[in-house]
Structures are given as structure tokens and as C-alpha cells.
């Protein structure tokens, strides 16, 4: 159920076509990396896929979409607002339940920031904010992940750790990445975008970094 098959995807900006027309079919179990120059249309494609597959996917947009005034806990908990009654959510806003606290804390622990649970997101660094958005996407517990440069603000080892976590938690994913090494290492299919069109579509094990560099 978590795959999708989309065709005729196009996007225009100010009367000029920036993406497509293109088709993309992703089967369950495929972990797709979107690579290409900045401005090639990766973010637009992620957004289009999100619009098309409905909202039954976990999205990590580039601008993260955090509620800055709320603490980390609530930003993560927002991933499961649909699973509880209104009174439960309202009460959680004032005083979260122990079970949810433990679940969110465990998740943050895996992302290496459990101690930030009650810090307002506004006061976090860029990398920490990115991890909060990722935690929210994981907490939402869908099998399809759509992510736009989810680790761009994380340093080397942390980026690897988070990418591994995303690979383990989501059976199917489409992740825009500018880091070719990460793409080859953590995704099993590479889709290269150039000038709004798909220029490359191969399993990762058939590609080397130099094959992808031609896109840049």
C-alpha cells in the first residue's frame, strides 16, 4: 500500500514550467534518493508527490514546519494528534500523559537529544530543529516517508545515524539529498533530476558516485 504510481506530474512557476511532465512509480520497499543540482526541481517533486498521495505519508519539508512556541515534546506529539480524542490532546497540551512522554523521549534518545524534551523549539540550533521534524515524521508512524534534505544541517556521524534510522523506520521513502555518498549508501534506488526531468533512474548498486556527478 505504501508505494505509488504517478504520471503527468508538472509544475509551473510564474508561467514557466519548472518540473515535468514526468512519471514516477515507487514500489513498496523502495528507498528512493532524489539527486540533482539545487533548483533542478527536487523540492517541487517532493511537494507534488505529497499532494498526490494524499496526506497518508510522513513529510519532512525543507522549512520543517515546527511550531516554534511549543516545546520539543509537543512538536513531536503532533504526529499522532489524529490517534487521540480532543480532550486527550487538549489535556496533553497542558500536562502530557506518562505513556506519551516515555514514547517521545525514547524516540528523541535515538536521535541523541532526549535532554531537549521540554525546550521550546525556537531556542534550538538548526541541526536540532531538523531532528525534531524528523522525530515528528517517525512518530507519525506511516510507512511512506517523503523528506526534503532531512539531514542538511547535521554533521557527518549524526547525519549517518539519522539516515540509518530513517531507513529502518520507513519501508518506502523518497528523500531529496544533495549528498551523493549518503544517497548511494542509504537508498536502494537513485533518481536524478535535471532541469525538471528525470535524467537517471537506476538501483544504487549499479551506480558509482561518478555516474551521478554528470548531473551536476
Amino acid at each position: 500500500m505504501s508505494g505509488f504510481d504517478l504520471s503527468g506530474l508538472t509544475a509551473s512557476f510564474g508561467g514557466e514550467r519548472v518540473l515535468g511532465p514526468l512519471s514516477l512509480r515507487v514500489r513498496e520497499g523502495e528507498q528512493v534518493a532524489l539527486v540533482g543540482k539545487s533548483g533542478a526541481g527536487k523540492s517541487t517533486l517532493i511537494r507534488l508527490i505529497h499532494e498526490q498521495v494524499g496526506r497518508n505519508s510522513s513529510l519532512v519539508p525543507q522549512e520543517l514546519g515546527l511550531v516554534n512556541a511549543l516545546p520539543v515534546f509537543h512538536n513531536v506529539f503532533m504526529g499522532q494528534l489524529d490517534k487521540h480524542r480532543t480532550w486527550y490532546n487538549t489535556l496533553s497540551l497542558i500536562r502530557p500523559f506518562a505513556a506519551d512522554r516515555a514514547a517521545v523521549k525514547n524516540l528523541l534518545d535515538e536521535l541523541g537529544m532526549a535532554e531537549k524534551l521540554w525546550i521550546p523549539t525556537a531556542s534550538l540550533s538548526g541541526g536540532q530543529r531538523q531532528r525534531v521534524a524528523i522525530a515528528r515524521a517517525i512518530y507519525r508512524d506511516e510507512s511512506l516517508l517523503l523528506a526534503d534534505e532531512p539531514v542538511s544541517a547535521l554533521d557527518g556521524p549524526r547525519a549517518l545515524q539519522v539516515m540509518a534510522l530513517l531507513r529502518d523506520r520507513f519501508a518506502t521513502s523518497v528523500i531529496a539529498l544533495h549528498d551523493v555518498e549518503l544517497a548511494l549508501q542509504y537508498c536502494n534506488r537513485i533518481v536524478g533530476i535535471q532541469d525538471g526531468l528525470i535524467e537517471l533512474d537506476e538501483p544504487s548498486d549499479r551506480l558509482s558516485p561518478s555516474d551521478i556527478m554528470s548531473l551536476y
Partner: protein, 488 residues
């Protein structure tokens, strides 16, 4: 310079005000205005806090009315803000906020009498309209992204509480606190129509020539406003709001027969009430328009335009008083004190005092409006200049003022001024109650002559005039591409 639209707009407004001065009735008619003014200042520096217990009661009532009125206004304003995108709601809110608190009080006095409900509703109703507009603007500016990212099945309430309110909370709190300060001023002037707040105390001290009592009241009022950050604490607010209704005083009981008569008889136009029917309505309306509405509108517009330009000039002159770019700490401190006093004193109280001292004419009204509004805008602009970093070799003194600072702040200055245009007109109309021939004068006389039908039509006209000026102000702000924040 003339090629700048902002300069051209300013010059047009300036020319209109100068032309207005030719028609306006500007004079000092009191026989010895300076001695009276001197006596008044003598009273302010020799305040008498212990003349009667009336002062403390009036202070308590002022705070209580402000809290109940603003709390109700913010509650209903919030509810209205949730449905503000509906056109009927927007029109309704524009209408209720276009009618001044004192007009609402005058209306409710006719059928609720001196019951606390009169004062509470007089504040709560127009404030609901204002809160609805500003809250909805704040809510609309919230980042839409978190809402888009919520899981599809999220309930409306949870989505609103998690993804909207937190982002807006700070701004809404700041604005509500600012409105509470306005509410204290509104509550104080309700005393002028007979409610038991500070205005009533001021009027009775003045009429007996007890300037030291009046001075004590003014000083207490400034302290009350200036110390808001000290005594209005988030933790104490629920206590204040729960306690306030018990300190409104007893007033007089409501006579429900009056309420019924007001709606079924009093406000029905006289010819319809009598046997003339619709044929009599046209002459009745004609007479009302020619003898009361049109002179009232003319004087209201005249006074508004003069006061608007005077406000602008005063604000431009006053902002250097608190700007870091000039002078030393002594001048800045006294500048702050002057501007705090100017903006904390309600226009109505300033006008009342000046009118007592100088005699009736438009002059006291212009000075009062300019002092209060110029104080507010001067304060905001002065604070803005403190964020400007000048190059180290920038000119000093008057050249710094004219070449470096005024050009930099002029656009936001105009934005604030046009934003306050509607507020100045609302106040201008109401100052008529003090005896200046603006619309408020004709409303007040109609009420005193127990012709509520005429009063209601005149209040309606006043509201429409305010809505018109508000729209024009917004149009000019948009045309000149001026931005403002609602907290002005």
C-alpha cells in the same frame, strides 16, 4: 521632493488643515485662562490624596469596569475572530467598533440606567469588535506549514490548539495587555456620563474648583497605568477577572419596563410613532439632516483634519525627546515622562481640563487630540530611531534630525498617523459632549431633549463616517505602501 507620493500626500493634508483653520472656531474665551491654568498646575503639584474616600472607590471602580469590560470583549472578540472571514461578521464588527464607548454608554444609560451593566457593555461591545479584527489578523499571520503537516484525521480543535494558537499566543497576549491599558482609559472617562469611575470624580472636583483633588486623581491614574507591568501578572489575572465583577458597585436596579419602552417606542422615529406615518418621515429626516447631522459632520471632519495634522507635527517634534541620537540622559528621562503623561491621559480628560480653563472652542479639542495622539506616535517613532545605526561621522543636531532621522522614519510615521486617523475621528465626534459642535454635541442634546430617535440616527451617521474614514485610511496606506502593526 514633490515627486515622493508620501510628501505629496502630507502636503495635501497640511493644506486641507490650513484651509480648515479659516473656518474653525479657534479662540480662548475664558476671561483669565492663564490664571486658571496656573491654579490647575498648582493643584497638580499640591495633590490632595485624602480629601475623601471617594477617590479610592473611584479608582477601584475604574479598574473593575476595565477588567470586566476588556475580559468580556477579548472573549467575544476571540470567538468572532474565528469566523471573521464571513462578510456579515466583518461588517458587524466594523459597526460595533465604529461607535465610541461613551456613545454606547449613553445608549445603555437610557434603558439600563446607572446599573453596572451599562458601563461593562459600553466597554465590552466596541472592544469585541476591535479584538475580533486584530486577533483574526494575528491568527492569519500564523505559519500555515505546521497545519499542513498534521495527520489527516486530526480534529479541528486539536489542530487549532497545537498548530495555530502557540505561534500567535505572544502577540495576542501583548495586544490584550495593551488593550487593558486602553480599557482603563475608557473606564475612567465613563465617569463623565455619570458612572462611578474616575471621570465622575474629576468632574465633580473641577466643578467645585478643588484642583488639588483633581491633581491627586490624575497622578494616581498615571501611577496606575505606568505600574501595569508590576501588578498585572499572568498568575494574578484569573484572580482579578474573577474578583472584578464584585467591585463594580451596586448602581441602580434595571427597570425592565424602560428597556421595553426604549426599543418599542423611544427609538422609533417620531412621525412613525405618531399618526403621520411614512409621509411625515421625509420632512423629519430632512430637518434632522439639515439642522443637526450636516453641521455635525462638517465640524467633525474639520476638527479631525486639523487635529490629525497637529498630531503629526507634534509627533515629529516630540520623538527626538526620547531618541538616543540626541542629548543626554536628563533630557531623555524628562522626554519619557512628558510622553508617558501625554499618551496616558485620555483625550477626553485633556479636552475637558483645557475646556474648563480656556472656555469653549475647537482649540482645547485640537490641543487635547494632538497631545494624546502625538504622544503615542512620538513614543513609537522615537523608539524606532533607537534601532537606527548612524555612520560614525553622521551630522549632529538639527542636520541629524532633518537629513538622517526624519527621512528614515517618515514612512512608518505616516503609517501610524493614518492608522490613528479613524481613532481621532471617533474621539472628535465624542468630544461634542463637552460642548464643541461636533456630532457628539447633537447626539447629547438629542438625548437630553429625550429625542432618542434622533440620537440613534445621529449615532448611526457617526458610525458610518468612522467606517468611511477607516476605509479611506486603509486605502491611502495601501496606495503609499505603508505597513503598520495593530498595536498603535
Amino acid at each position: 521632493m514633490l515627486s515622493y507620493p508620501t510628501v505629496r500626500a502630507s502636503l495635501i493634508f497640511f493644506a486641507v488643515a490650513i484651509a480648515g483653520l479659516l473656518f474653525a472656531d479657534i479662540a480662548i474665551t475664558a476671561s483669565n485662562p492663564w490664571r486658571d491654568l496656573g491654579n490647575f498646575f498648582l493643584g497638580v503639584v499640591t495633590p490632595n490624596f485624602f480629601s475623601s474616600e471617594g477617590l479610592m472607590t473611584a479608582l477601584l471602580r475604574t479598574v473593575a469596569f476595565a477588567f470586566v469590560g476588556v475580559a468580556l470583549g477579548s472573549f467575544f472578540g476571540f470567538l468572532l475572530a474565528l469566523v471573521y472571514r464571513l462578510l456579515p461578521v466583518r461588517i458587524f464588527c466594523a459597526f460595533i467598533r465604529a461607535i465610541h464607548e461613551l456613545f454606547w454608554a449613553l445608549i445603555f444609560l437610557q434603558f439600563f440606567g446607572f446599573h453596572p451593566l451599562t458601563g461593562v457593555l459600553a466597554i465590552a461591545i466596541p472592544y469585541s469588535g476591535i479584538f475580533a479584527k486584530v486577533y483574526s489578523e494575528i491568527l492569519e499571520e500564523a505559519d500555515p506549514e505546521p497545519r499542513r503537516l498534521l495527520p489527516p484525521g486530526t480534529g479541528m480543535v486539536a489542530a487549532f490548539l497545537y498548530a495555530r494558537i502557540p505561534d500567535c499566543w505572544d502577540q495576542m497576549r501583548t495586544y490584550t495587555a495593551y488593550r487593558l491599558e486602553c480599557g482603563l482609559r475608557s473606564s475612567a472617562i465613563l465617569g463623565f456620563v455619570g458612572l462611578p469611575t474616575l471621570g465622575f470624580y474629576l468632574e465633580s472636583s473641577f466643578s467645585q474648583g478643588l484642583y488639588s483633588d483633581a491633581g491627586a486623581m490624575l497622578i494616581l491614574f498615571y501611577v496606575l497605568i505606568a505600574s501595569i507591568p508590576l501588578w498585572v501578572r499572568p498568575k494574578l489575572l484569573p484572580i482579578y477577572i474573577l474578583a472584578a465583577p464584585f467591585f463594580l458597585g451596586e448602581g441602580l436596579p434595571i427597570v425592565w419596563g424602560n428597556v421595553e419602552r426604549f426599543f418599542t417606542e423611544d427609538i422609533i422615529p417620531a412621525p412613525l410613532r405618531g399618526d403621520e406615518g411614512l409621509t411625515g418621515l421625509l420632512p423629519w429626516l430632512n430637518d434632522l439632516m439639515i439642522n443637526e447631522a450636516l453641521p455635525g459632520i462638517w465640524n467633525t471632519i474639520l476638527l479631525t483634519q486639523i487635529a490629525l495634522v497637529a498630531t503629526g507635527i507634534l509627533a515629529l517634534l516630540a520623538f527626538p525627546l526620547i531618541s538616543n541620537h540626541f542629548g543626554g540622559p536628563v533630557r531623555r528621562t524628562s522626554g519619557h515622562v512628558f510622553l508617558v503623561i501625554a499618551r496616558s491621559t485620555p483625550e477626553y480628560i485633556l479636552a475637558y481640563i483645557l475646556l474648563q480653563l480656556w472656555g469653549p472652542s475647537m482649540l482645547p479639542a485640537v490641543v487635547a487630540l494632538a497631545l494624546h495622539n502625538g504622544g503615542i506616535i512620538g513614543h513609537l517613532i522615537g523608539r524606532q530611531t533607537n534601532n537606527i545605526r548612524l555612520r560614525p561621522d553622521a551630522p549632529a543636531g538639527f542636520n541629524r534630525y532633518t537629513w538622517e532621522l526624519v527621512p528614515r522614519v517618515y514612512r512608518s510615521f505616516l503609517a501610524f498617523l493614518f492608522y490613528r486617523w479613524e481613532i481621532i475621528m471617533r474621539e472628535t465626534a465624542i468630544l461634542g459632549i463637552l460642548g464643541i459642535y461636533t456630532l457628539g454635541f447633537y447626539v447629547d442634546s438629542a438625548i437630553q431633549n429625550i429625542r432618542f430617535d434622533r440620537a440613534m440616527v445621529l449615532i448611526l451617521i457617526t458610525a458610518l463616517l468612522n467606517i468611511g474614514v477607516d476605509a479611506l485610511g486603509r486605502y491611502i496606506r495601501r496606495k503609499l505602501a505603508l505597513q503598520t502593526m495593530p498595536t498603535c
